[in-house]
């Protein structure tokens, strides 16, 4: 049984998705989706445990040997990403039945669950597969499914947002498939490990370099690296809050994973950073993302849109970490991957709670929210503190490791920029807190807490933010393990 865990990780949700359509019933579909998502989470927990105890798992799908058949390859990095993705799925899904979204789609809820499961399958598949083309296929599955999810937003603009997401996502996927094709032409293999072994022999010719550039830009689109982030704020703003929470916490993280995988495993540190000057452009773009996106966030009227821009800035931190090309930097990146999933997930879920009471996310409509929805607003504030990086929250751990890594890499300027950009986060979070706690609620404003079904998942994520702000052995330990392996420094 445990030998087939890698296959189960993807197959469970993949099969449950059409099954949702077959069962039709709203509650049945929900229960099916919930049970398979939780099962997937359990599988990813087992996988991570297995990887940490026995080392990298190689699973040959259908028993076909590696270079020809599809290989699922699970090491510390993607086991960790699997855990994040399935974990966030497992927390967000219970949120859905009482959310506004399901009230709206009504009897067609089963289609939502189907799309959700497909999206989850795609993201898990991208993370688990060791085959480059298979990665593209799963990427497309997740893109198309998330496109459906985004289009379910309450506002009509959700449709254009979904359309834009579709087009831009397709461009990104196309770039990736072009890159994979070029590599296939150069090396004659699609298996990532195999590519990594054969590339030095083929030499770093123009084909390989072009493939590399296409893959980098493709991944950059997927992870919404500045200035290719334009699809993200719109998509997250107009998507249903539940979907925003899920995508913000998982989709871009998987994008970052793809970037790390191609840079460090497939092409290798030597080619990616020593033969080609990749680190500096990534670092510049990351710093620009941190500052520009945070500044834009400060000026946003809509809290949801503000959070979306904040995501772009946070992705900057992740890319910044890996662009240091040190074990410390990579560790910080992976830790932030995890922590950002927790904090952004929590924040968007809090927004989902607010959506239950009022349709507007404008900051002025948050006036007095601290009294109108005390639990929700407390969760939002706690998540915001984590986003800023206040000690005793997960966000602090990320920033701490990132700053340490920058200092260890002899980049004091970068360390200073990290601190300064965190101050921008203080500003945009404070605007919301100020409105919620220091302004009188307007007369007749909708008042009353969100139902427990919404609050519990939100507070669960907040609790995890605090827990992993104090007890850091899991994320930091796994991230260090993964970073050492990626930098070729041994497990």
């Amino acid at each position: 049984m445990t030998a087939h865990l890698p296959a189960l990780q993807v197959v469970l949700t993949l099969l449950a998705a059409p099954a949702c359509i077959l069962v039709r019933g709203r509650d049945l579909a929900f229960l099916l989706a919930l049970s398979t998502t939780w099962a997937a989470f359990a599988v990813s927990c087992l996988l991570l445990d297995q990887v940490l105890t026995t080392g990298t798992i190689s699973y040959e799908l259908g028993g076909w040997a590696a270079p020809f058949g599809i290989e699922y390859r699970v090491d510390a990095l993607n086991a960790f990403v699997l855990l994040i993705v399935s974990g966030i799925g497992a927390v967000v899904l219970p949120f859905t039945p009482r959310s506004l979204l399901i009230e709206m789609v009504g009897e067609k809820a089963y289609l939502f669950y189907c799309a959700f499961l497909l999206c989850l399958t795609g993201l898990l598949g991208v993370a688990i597969t060791g085959d480059a083309f298979n990665l593209f296929v799963f990427l497309e599955i997740s893109s198309l499914a998330s496109c459906i999810l985004i289009s379910l937003g309450p506002h009509r603009r959700a449709l254009t947002a979904a359309f834009q997401y579709l087009v831009v996502g397709t461009i990104g996927a196309t770039f990736i498939v072009i890159g994979i094709g070029l590599i296939y032409g150069a090396t004659g293999t699609l298996n990532m490990n195999d590519i990594a072994e054969r590339l030095p022999a083929t030499g770093y010719n123009r084909t390989v370099i072009a493939a590399f550039a296409f893959l980098i830009v493709g991944a950059a689109i997927k992870l919404a690296l500045f200035p290719l982030h334009f699809w993200l704020p719109k998509a997250y703003t107009y998507a249903p809050s539940t979907v925003s929470a899920f995508l913000a916490a998982t989709a871009t993280k998987v994008g970052v994973y793809v970037l790390i995988r191609f840079l460090f495993t497939v092409f290798g540190v030597e080619f990616s950073f020593e033969v080609l000057p990749t680190a500096l452009p990534l670092m510049v773009l990351a710093v620009l993302a941190m500052f520009v996106a945070s500044t834009i966030a400060i000026f946003q009227d809509s809290v949801k849109r503000m959070l979306a821009y904040s995501s772009v800035a946070q992705i900057g931190y992740m890319v910044l970490g890996l662009s240091l090309v040190t074990v410390d930097g990579l560790t910080a990146s992976v830790v932030h991957l995890f922590n950002h999933a927790l904090m952004k997930g929590a924040l968007f879920l809090a927004i989902g709670c607010i959506a239950y009471r009022q349709a507007s996310f404008r900051i002025e409509d948050f006036a007095g929210m601290g009294r109108r929805m005390p639990w929700t607003m407390a969760a939002f504030t706690a998540g915001g503190l984590s986003l800023i990086g206040i000690p005793l929250t997960a966000g602090f751990i990320s920033k701490w490791y990132l700053i340490l890594a920058a200092l260890a890499a002899d980049e004091p300027l970068i360390a200073a920029l990290i601190v300064i950009s965190s101050l921008l986060a203080v500003i945009y979070i404070w605007r919301v807190v100020e409105a919620a706690y220091f302004r009188e609620p307007p007369p007749g404003a909708p008042t009353g807490e969100a139902p427990a079904a919404l609050l519990v998942p939100t507070w669960l994520l907040i609790a995890l933010n605090v827990y992993f702000g104090i007890e850091t052995s899991l994320p930091v330990g796994v991230a260090e393990h993964a970073a050492r392996a990626l930098m070729g420094a041994g497990p």
Binding site: Q164, I209, F214, V217, L228
Partner: protein
Amino acid sequence: MIASLPPGLLLIVAALAIPVLPDAARRAWTVVVPAAGLWALIALEPGNYLAFAWFGAEFQPVRVDKLSLVFGYIFHIAAIIAAIYALHVRDSVQHMAGMVYAGSGIGAVFAGDLVTLFVYWEAMAVASVFLVWARGGEAAYRSGMRYLIVQIASGVLLLSGAILQAEQTGSIAFDRMDLGNLATWLIFLAFGIKCAFPFLHNWLQDAYPEATVTGTVFLSAFTTKAAVYALARGFPGTEMLIYVGAAMTAFPIFYAVIENDLRRVLAYSLNNQLGFMVVGVGIGTPMALNGAAGHAFAHILYKALLFMSMGAVLYRVGTIKGSELGGLYKSMPLTTVFCIVGAASISAFPLFSGFIAKALTLSAVAYEGYVVVWLILMFASAGVFHHSGIKIPYFAFFAHDSGKRCKEAPLNMLVAMGIAAFLCIALGVWSPALYGILPYDLDYEPYTPTHVIGQLQLLMFSALAFAVLIRYRIYPPELKSTNLDFDWVYRKGVPALIARCWPALWAAWQGLLGAFQGGLRQGIDAVIRLAGPEGTLARTWPLGSTTLWVAVLLGGFLLIYYL
């Protein structure tokens, strides 16, 4: 038990009991505690005590050697005398402040490291300011505030210097230092402020006359002499001090001559006396250092005596303006006698303590061949006699009869003055008593014919000058006036200058501010144009331009990779 406490700390701890003690017990307490401290100190053997390491620094809270013992003895004696003098005061804040202040001063001279010194240094500043504020009223409050700011500034400089010193040498030990880097300059400046170097001196003449009758007696003893000790410990033989000291002896004389407030006259005279000690430290030979220490010892006694007599006058008459006093010898004969003893001592009459103390410094200067400095000191000696020796007793107790009649000073004041006067004479008559406790072994005989005659000539001619000036009415009359000292520069001059230049400055500032605001506004506008709600970067971009950016980025990557 008492001996195991660091010197000075006993007084500070004991001071905490003052507010809860009943009146009679408190009176006894304020005198007995310093006496017990003195007794414990006499029993103390030289050496280092209670040293400990903390945060990687070696602390030496108690260092007992002959130099610190001289100051320790006289500080205790001064604390006893000042406490007796203040027995009639019912304000326990003053008693507490006085005792903590004395304790801090004692602690400071036994501090073996710079951090401990800093702690006592600041404690002195904070405790002593209450003696000024206790006078009450706006003038005392403001004066105390200025005093406090200057004293705290001195402490801050000391601490900064100590930190730098620890950085550079890895040690916080308070030993001989050389002027040559920022650390030692900061420490030097901190000492200089408390020692009332020229241009750093105004806090002294500002605050001491504003303090209470009894507070000034405390003030005159500790702060400046602790600074002299610190200089003698840290910077002996620093040549600059000779000239600084010489300037200090000379310039206050002119102010002292024209000043009307007799306690302020004494404050200037105090400044002048400090100059002698600073010169001694600057010469730095064992004899000169003995002179500085011995002079400090004697000076504390006779300066306290003078301040006590003037305090008694102020206490009984209610004013201390030279122009309003006169003829008081009829009402206060004992005080008059004590004042004359103090005046004779400070003027260095043979057989008074000033004579045997000042002789050391003057001889040291002469041996080292500083002729000009020696002449300045001679001039200053004559000046001292002039303003402290003659002017103070003359205007307060003799001169024209002001018609004021009052009672003799209270008994406790008379006792305190009596003790001080006795000590002044005793030291002058029996010089080995003082010479025996000085830091360095000394073989010196003050009473040689040349020395005695020379000093008497000096004094006589100075007296003659005074008499002539008075006789022909050339002497500056005692007027109700405010005399301008250097503090005018920062208290009035600079503000006036600023007021004069204000319009231009204001316009320039406005221009600068405007330019800055303009720049800032443009910058913010630019940010808003880019990142604001409708900004270029924040707008929802059409698909075309998004795709364009993708192409640009791909092109960029390919370009740098192929190059």
